[in-house]
Amino acid sequence: MTQHFPALLIIIPLLSALLVSAMGWIDRRWCFPLAVASLAGALAVSIGLAAHVMAAGPIVYKMAGWRPPIGIVYVIDYLNAPVLVVILAVALLNLISAKVWIEKDFEDKMGAYLGLYLLFLSGMVGIVATGDAFNLYVLLEIGSLTGYALIGLGKERAPLSSLNYLFMGTIGASFYLLGIGYIYIATGTLNMADIALLVPQLEGSGTLFLALIICMAGLFVKMALFPLHGWLPNAYSNAPSASAGLIAPLTTKVMIYAMVRVGLTVFTPAFTFARPLLSEAIVWLAIAAIVSGSLLALMQRRLSRMFTYIIVAEVGYMVGGFWLGNKAGVTGATLHIINDAAMTLTLFMAVSAIIWKLGSDKFEDLQGLFGKMPFTMIGFVIAALAVIGIPPTCGFFSKWYLITGGINAGQWGFVAALLFSSLVNAVLFFRIFEIAFFEPFAEGHGHHDHGPVFNEAPVTMVAPLLIAALSLIALGLYTGDIVTKLIQLALPAGIA
């Protein structure tokens, strides 16, 4: 059965999405347990796959039994095995945490919501697992279409921001499709491994170079790299809390994974990093993303909005690290995909718990939160430390690799931007700690001075939050294993 795991990975969410959305019309009580069970099953499969890959090397699964360039293949290798586990874990934890929200917000549309949730997930899992360049586009569209719907039913401005996201997402996906067309016109194949074999023969091909630029431009739009990031803050901060915790950690990170995949295994590193001018320009874009994201985050007065700008900065980390083009940089970018997904999840789950209890995430409403919601705040603090990059947490290690990469490449601007962003993050989070901890509770409108009243979010919210927070520390402690046993093996030989 192990050899069919790559197919099961995507069939389980897909079939359960169909069942759940049908169950929404028959008996709504079954929807949620079904969704959780299927996600747990898929998570187990992905862990089995990761173990198999670590023990026996990459798996190539031929869909419909056709050999690679003719049919579509799924490739599970050292690069995507850990990403798959993280994606499914994020989705499972967020689903459990969002249970109360889903029951409150989408009571009569629960089947449709959970169906979209699982379809979104199967799109994301497919993007990561696929070995076919065109198949990636189809799955990209599944992930995006469901994403627009999941965002669109949110708070006041949600439909407008969702429509803007749709326009930008369509531009991005269409550019990616066009890039695939250019690759196809130059090589005549769509299989990633096959393209990688043909690329060295076409070293000087302008068409292929343009294909690289177009594909990357499309993916940059979808991952919201700096000048193209306009859609992200509105879309994520207006999304319903249940969806924000799913989409914010996954979409940008999966797009960055796609960039790594396209850069490393479709176009070989020798081709991707062959033009120093291009790499240099993209790294400077990333630096601009980091600086502007950090500065804009400073100006926000709402938690969720602040986090969205932190995401913009984090995208800059990963893009910059990848385009440094050296071993430490690419390792750092890949490691940061995993770490950042976990960090963002924890942050958004904490915000979702805070909004559930307070009805708001404005800074001035957060006073005395440490007393009111101590467990939520424990998770929040750990996530904040990870984002800042304090040692036992995972954020430190990926940042360490990124900075090493910057130093090795002699790209001091990137190093400076990373340090600046860490500093800004420290300011950001300690300001919130100060509001939530040190400022006296309810001074302005306090009639009785009992101090903060213990008023914690429901256990279905707190437990996943704490698990995610612990995973941040665990990821930090096992960084060495992840790097040496998976990511280092995933890097092709061409990277210095």
């Binding site: 019309w25 003719i70 189809v138």
Partner: protein
């Protein structure tokens, strides 16, 4: 914004146009795109899948996995439109128009007024922007719709031999229904093909596709490898592929038909399922 758009357009367009010269000429049979991979499909398509239309065999067999997700995209769009737009409305919220059939008199019932029974034989509900009797349109559509549907079934069933297949057939089936909904009214279309049925058919259609794949998996072959169904269908592996294509095309037709109708219901009534176009 217009200025910004102009700059983006000129830059991108200039880059793309500048590069067009490097393409192989239009219609060049010796370009890599036409010589590397595609000859395999043309030369072996019929032997492998017994379907003369190579597009169908590529679509539903060689790259059948893509097509499964294509169907899923449609299904996701249906779910998304339902999720975004649908809202329940209590009867009596808005003014309504009725026609008294025996006399032909049009009644306007204001908000909160008593409404005739839903299945009343004497009163028929009209859209608020109603038109007088449309005998020509209704009768023409009544004649045309069965032919559209038969043609749609032909397109689905004949996908192996001629252009067409599950998707086109499904769209045609949906179009016949949309024609019904436009020529009569939305409520009667919904009575014939209720929303719940549309939703269930949509997921069932994708389920037929994915289920065929899972069945192959249960028979020990790879996902969507229809050859594994040969013992079940009692035919040779090549014919099993051919039949497998037909089965999944039927699934696609189901899903696409139901979902496009479903999207139409939601869009044309802005989610109220009350008055359509």
């Amino acid at each position: 914004m217009k200025f910004l758009a102009m700059i983006a357009v000129v830059l991108t367009g200039g880059l793309l146009i500048f590069h067009t010269g490097a393409f192989p000429d239009f219609g060049d049979a010796n370009s890599p795109a036409n010589t590397y991979l595609s000859p395999y499909y043309l030369e072996n398509g019929q032997a492998d899948t017994h379907a003369p239309n190579v597009v169908t065999s590529v679509l539903a067999d060689y790259r059948g996995y893509d097509t499964m997700f294509e169907t899923t995209v449609v299904f996701a769009a249906g779910l998304a439109c339902f999720f975004l737009l649908r809202r329940k409305q209590k009867p009596g919220d808005t003014p309504r128009m009725y026609r008294h059939l025996p006399t032909g008199v049009t009644l306007h019932i204001k908000e909160g007024g008593t409404l005739p029974a839903e299945d009343s034989a004497v009163f028929r509900r009209l859209d608020s922007e109603f038109v007088p009797h449309q005998i020509i349109i209704k009768n023409t559509c009544r004649i045309v719709i069965p032919f559209i549907q038969i043609f749609a079934l032909y397109v689905v069933a004949h996908g192996h031999y001629s252009p067409g297949g599950g998707f086109q057939g499904g769209v045609l089936l949906a179009a016949s229904f949309i024609l019904y909904a436009i020529s009569h009214d939305l409520r009667r279309a919904i009575r014939r093909f209720p929303e719940k049925v549309a939703a269930l058919f949509g997921s069932m259609g994708v389920l037929i596709y994915a289920g065929t794949g899972v069945l192959c998996l249960l028979f020990g072959a790879n996902f969507l490898n229809y050859e594994a169904l040969a013992p079940l269908l009692g035919v040779s592996p090549v014919m099993a592929r051919s039949h497998g294509i037909l089965i999944v095309e039927i699934g696609v037709a189901f899903a696409v038909m139901a979902v496009i109708i479903w999207i139409y219901y939601n869009l044309s009534s802005a989610g109220k399922h009350d008055e359509g176009l």
